[in-house]
């Protein structure tokens, strides 16, 4: 059972790498990059090597730290337990680590203190992977704290930027409140069950919930919601995704908030097993709907690129929470798939935003424009990411959003509850508004007219482009081959979420019990492959013909005063007969009809996000109290 050691080696390797970078890597760039690359690749390779035993053969790997095996059915050591659900999250997190590391080698080149940056980066990676693989509740809390520290420091890494320190401090305060509540919940659970092993807690608590454990449930939900950054706990995140360097934003939006989602799944599905109660499902669906809608409408009012992307991150996590709240096989599959797709396309979008920042020096959309002529490959990757997040076929966002819509209205049909139909409608409308937001960004940043002062911009270097290409390829592959993805990794993960009863036997030493889980399958038939193949051939042929038979244009960008190459103005943009000027319609000027009609709503939310730490903490606390009260009233 060689592979039983893989999870521990992966996690400890990352922490060891952080330590080594701090000792050896502060002065020499090549040593540092080598150490980072070695340990990140090691973690990724080991995680992928676990697919075969866990996903294909259906085992659950248990590893007791220090060989403290359980005694008489009582867990006395810290156990690492890798099941299909944890491995699913671990896979895309590990891939994100690799891509982020490759991107940051070149992107962070001009910064100082890179030794500290990579130390914190490896600590963040280790924390994320540790939380994914662990089977012990207090270990989960420790990993949450490691992630909070590393994230707060990394968010403020470029402390000369406007707002970086402020964002880091707010993140630390809110994150700290959340993790203290997690710790309080852990202590309450220990009070009741006198054990810290997740499988054992699930076994003891399922079905007999006392007021103490219900309070613990409320606190744990609140704590993990703070880590997942859903409404109303999302406020510090909007700032810190924007000020963090781009590869770190990719890590935040791709891995850190998935940790919150994984924590919620573990708490609700495996420890407390309350997801079969109607009230719990409705609560999660309502929270998901609120998060989706509020975040996407606030995003439409932003004029800084990374802040807009941060709001969209929050909105997509709202989709995931809503799908998980449905508690049907199709819903959970859709939610998990959307979590993975979100990491892929949101990471791609943040990397493109980073490329724009690297090339142009600003992410204020009102100052950019026409960049597709200078950075064509970045523009193509950004369009792929924008279509993926809006849910346009054939990209991956379409496949997972499709599953979520199907799941929501199937659930509405089964239970006859109008809330789920309303959830479907809100989800579709949010999708359209996401599309609107990205059309605005594409038009403002990439299309349109280039400012004369931006003529020096060149496309980004190769090592920054490779992660973007890999991200785009994954978007397309996951969208087209979703049946394959479903069979190999999604289905085991979804079944793992539902079959929590068998964990206890496996942890206590009976590995054969792993195969006795639920075996739901879902059936999706969306695409007819022959049709799309023929259509693709037709489009390709037609486009080739069309491009060949058009006249060539003058290739340079022309602004006022350059009449010598185009004396008739034939290739200039039409200005109703006036002299050609620079007039670029930017993000703040778009969507007038929408903004006017929603102006009161935007006022309310402008005041809601007022930047004050006290108010953000108040929203946190009030949200937590409401969740605890709901849990007390409805979960018995």
């Amino acid at each position: 059972m060689m592979y039983a050691h893989f999870p521990v080696i992966a996690v400890m390797g990352l922490f060891l790498g952080a330590f080594l970078v701090e000792i050896f890597g502060t002065k020499n760039k090549y040593i540092r990059n080598t150490i980072v690359m070695i340990f990140v690749l090691l973690a990724a390779v080991l995680t992928f090597a676990l697919i075969k035993p866990v996903m294909v053969n259906g085992e659950i790997i248990t590893y007791w730290m220090g060989s403290w095996e359980p005694v008489e059915g009582w867990a006395i050591g810290i156990g690492y337990e890798v099941d299909a659900l944890g491995l699913f999250f671990g896979l895309f997190c590990a891939a994100t680590f690799v891509l982020s590391a490759i991107y940051s080698f070149r992107y962070m080149d001009s910064d100082d203190h890179l030794g500290h940056y990579y130390t914190l980066f490896l600590m963040l990676c280790g924390g994320v992977l540790g939380l994914v693989f662990t089977g012990d509740l207090f270990n989960m809390f420790i990993m949450v704290e490691i992630i909070t520290f590393a994230s707060a420091a990394l968010a403020a890494f470029r402390n000369y930027k406007f707002g970086a320190l402020e964002a880091g401090f707010k993140y630390l305060v809110i994150g700290s409140v959340g993790s203290s509540m997690i710790l309080f919940g852990v202590a309450l659970i220990y009070l009741q069950t006198h054990t810290l092993n997740i499988a054992q807690i699930g076994n003891e608590m399922a079905g007999n919930l006392t007021p103490v454990t219900i309070l613990a449930l409320g606190l744990l939900i609140m704590g993990f919601s703070v880590k997942a950054f859903i409404f109303p706990f999302h406020t510090p995140v909007v700032d810190s995704y924007a000020t963090a360097p781009a590869p770190i934003s990719m890590m935040f939006s791709g891995t850190v908030n998935k940790i919150g989602v994984l924590g919620l799944i573990r708490v609700l599905y495996q420890m407390f097993r309350v997801m079969d109660k109607e009230a719990m499902q409705m609560t999660l669906v309502v929270i998901g709907m609120a998060t989706m809608f509020i975040a996407v409408t606030c995003a439409l009012a932003q004029h800084r690129l990374k802040r807009l992307l941060a709001y969209h991150s929050i909105s997509q996590v709202g989709y995931v929470i809503m799908a998980i709240g449905l508690a049907t096989p199709l819903g959970v599959t859709g939610g998990l798939f959307h979590a993975m797709n979100h990491t892929v396309f949101k990471g791609l979008l943040f990397l493109c935003a980073g490329a724009v920042f690297y090339a142009a020096g600003t992410t204020n959309m009102d100052k950019l424009g026409g960049l597709s002529k200078k950075m064509p490959l970045t523009c193509a990757c950004f369009i792929v990411g924008a279509f993926a997040i809006s849910g346009i076929p054939p990209f991956n966002g379409f496949a997972s959003k499709w599953m979520i819509y199907l799941a929501a209205y199937n659930k509405g049909m089964e239970t006859g509850n109008f809330l789920y139909i309303a959830a479907t409608i809100v989800a579709v409308v949010t999708s359209v508004m996401t599309l609107a937001s990205f059309i605005k960004v594409t038009q403002t940043v990439f299309f349109g007219q280039l400012k004369a002062t931006n003529d020096y911009i060149r496309d980004v270097p190769l090592s920054m482009r490779i992660p973007m290409w890999i991200g785009s390829a994954l978007c397309i592959f996951l969208g087209v081959g979703y049946n394959f993805v479903n069979k190999t990794i999604l289905n085991p993960a979804m079944n793992a979420a539902f079959s929590a009863e068998r964990y206890f036997d496996v942890m206590m030493g009976d590995p054969a019990a792993a195969s006795a889980g639920t075996n739901y399958t879902i059936n999706l038939s969306v695409w007819n492959p022959i049709l799309w193949l023929v259509l693709f051939a037709i489009v390709f042929a037609a486009v080739a013909i069309a491009i060949i038979t058009t006249k060539k244009t003058v290739g340079k960008v022309m602004l006022s005063g350059s009449d010598n190459q185009d004396p008739d103005g034939k290739y200039a943009v039409f200005f109703s007969g006036e002299r050609s000027q620079y007039s670029h319609v930017v993000g703040s000027d778009m969507f007038w009809g929408f903004r006017k009609n929603f102006s009161k709503y935007f006022d309310v939310f402008h005041k809601f996000h007022n930047g004050n730490v006290n108010d953000y903490a108040t929203y946190c606390v009030v949200g937590g109290i409401i969740i605890t009260i709901i849990v007390f009233i409805f979960v018995r």
């Binding site: 026409g370 597709s372 064509p376 523009c379 369009i383 346009i392 379409f398 819509y405 199907l406 209205y409 509405g412 049909m413 139909i421 479907t424 409608i425 579709v428 409308v429 359209v432 508004m433 599309l435 609107a436 059309i439 594409t442 038009q443 299309f447 349109g448 007219q449 038939s525 969306v526 022959i530 049709l531 023929v534 259509l535 037709i538 489009v539 037609a542 486009v543 069309a546 491009i547 038979t549 058009t550 003058v554 340079k556 022309m558 185009d566 034939k570 290739y571 200039a572 943009v573 039409f574 109703s576 670029h584 319609v585 000027d589 778009m590 969507f591 007038w592 009809g593 929408f594 009609n597």
Partner: protein, 316 residues
């Protein structure tokens, strides 16, 4: 063999050739009837076809500030998605592709031509185009909400308690139980759908995105030659598809036993629908401002559709 049949279906019937012929015909009938309503003589009915061939012969000028690849690709992508949509609509009772989630696929496919218009306009680099695409996007947000409510209501009625989204099932239900328009609960949904059609197709009073007088035709301002011909063709195809959808979903298919007669009756009903919801409204109204358009769709039309959904849910 399947590939050959599929290619024939895509290209000839009910795919590209048939749909474009009928679409251009509908556009011509629309212009002729509008002219007659405005007390003029109007162009011949096949004028849009003349326009299409004329535009194909003109020079394509790609402006210097435009992104060439996206500019050329946008009309083709839009055309392909419209052709795929044509294959889902049962023309004269023949269904070609039907799965169990057709209506949701159609909602998705309906967004693709609008997105392609937006991306094409955006890539041409003109500020008129930027204003036009901003309005087009707001229009799209505006009509998506009532559209999905209407489809949910239909699916609930047809499935008799479950949600069924297959158009084939809708057609069979109507043969068995009479046209869906005859259900009291679905009359508001039919009215809402009739109001959505002009916004989708882009005719007055909801063509704020392509306002000829204000923003020089919006996203299409820098297009010329073959790409412009394709965009005009897409617009006509959309006219055909939307009226065909209305006919299929609400009025049902009239079976006379002869396939040709079925198709002719189908096309005739599409003409009637076009005249009622597009030409008539065009002739008597002026263009709306974008904020009024948005408010209209999200309050009045969505309200009508919601009434229908609630009535259906309550079991009427």
């Amino acid at each position: 063999m399947i590939v050959l049949t599929t290619i024939l279906q895509i290209l000839i019937f009910p795919g590209f050739l048939f749909a474009s012929f009928i679409g251009l015909l509908l556009a011509g009938i629309d212009r002729k009837v509008l002219a007659r309503m405005q007390h003029r003589i109007g162009p011949p009915i096949i004028q849009p076809m003349y326009d299409f061939f004329k535009l194909c012969g003109k020079e394509t000028i790609v402006p210097a500030a435009a992104n060439r690849h996206v500019y050329m690709l946008a009309p083709w992508a839009s055309l392909c998605s419209l052709i795929v949509m044509c294959l889902f609509i049962p023309v004269g009772g023949l269904t070609f592709f039907s799965g169990n989630a057709d209506l949701i696929i159609i909602i998705y496919l309906l967004t693709i031509p609008a997105v392609c218009l937006i991306i094409g306009g955006s890539s041409s680099g003109s500020p008129y185009a930027a204003v036009g695409i901003s309005r087009e996007m707001v229009t799209m947000i505006a009509y998506e909400l009532p559209l999905i409510i209407v489809f949910l209501a239909i699916a609930r009625v047809v499935g008799r308690g479950e949600l069924v989204f297959s158009i084939k099932t809708v057609a069979e239900y109507q043969i068995a139980n009479g046209a869906l328009v005859s259900h009291i609960a679905l009359i508001p949904a039919a009215i809402a759908f009739l109001l959505i059609i002009p916004a989708e197709v882009g005719t007055q009073p909801f063509d704020t995105a392509e306002a000829e007088t204000e923003i020089c035709e919006g996203p299409l301002v820098e297009y010329s030659g073959k790409p412009l011909a394709l965009f005009k063709l897409n617009s006509s195809l959309k006219m055909f598809i939307m009226s065909a959808l209305f006919t299929t979903l609400f009025i049902g298919v009239v079976y006379t036993g002869n396939v040709i007669a079925d198709v002719v009756i189908f096309v005739a009903i599409c003409c009637l629908v076009t005249i009622i919801c597009m030409t008539l409204v065009h002739a008597v109204t002026a263009r709306l401002k974008i904020e009024h358009l948005f408010k209209f769709y999200w309050t009045v039309v969505a309200g009508i559709a919601l009434v229908s959904l609630i009535l259906v849910w309550a079991g009427l």
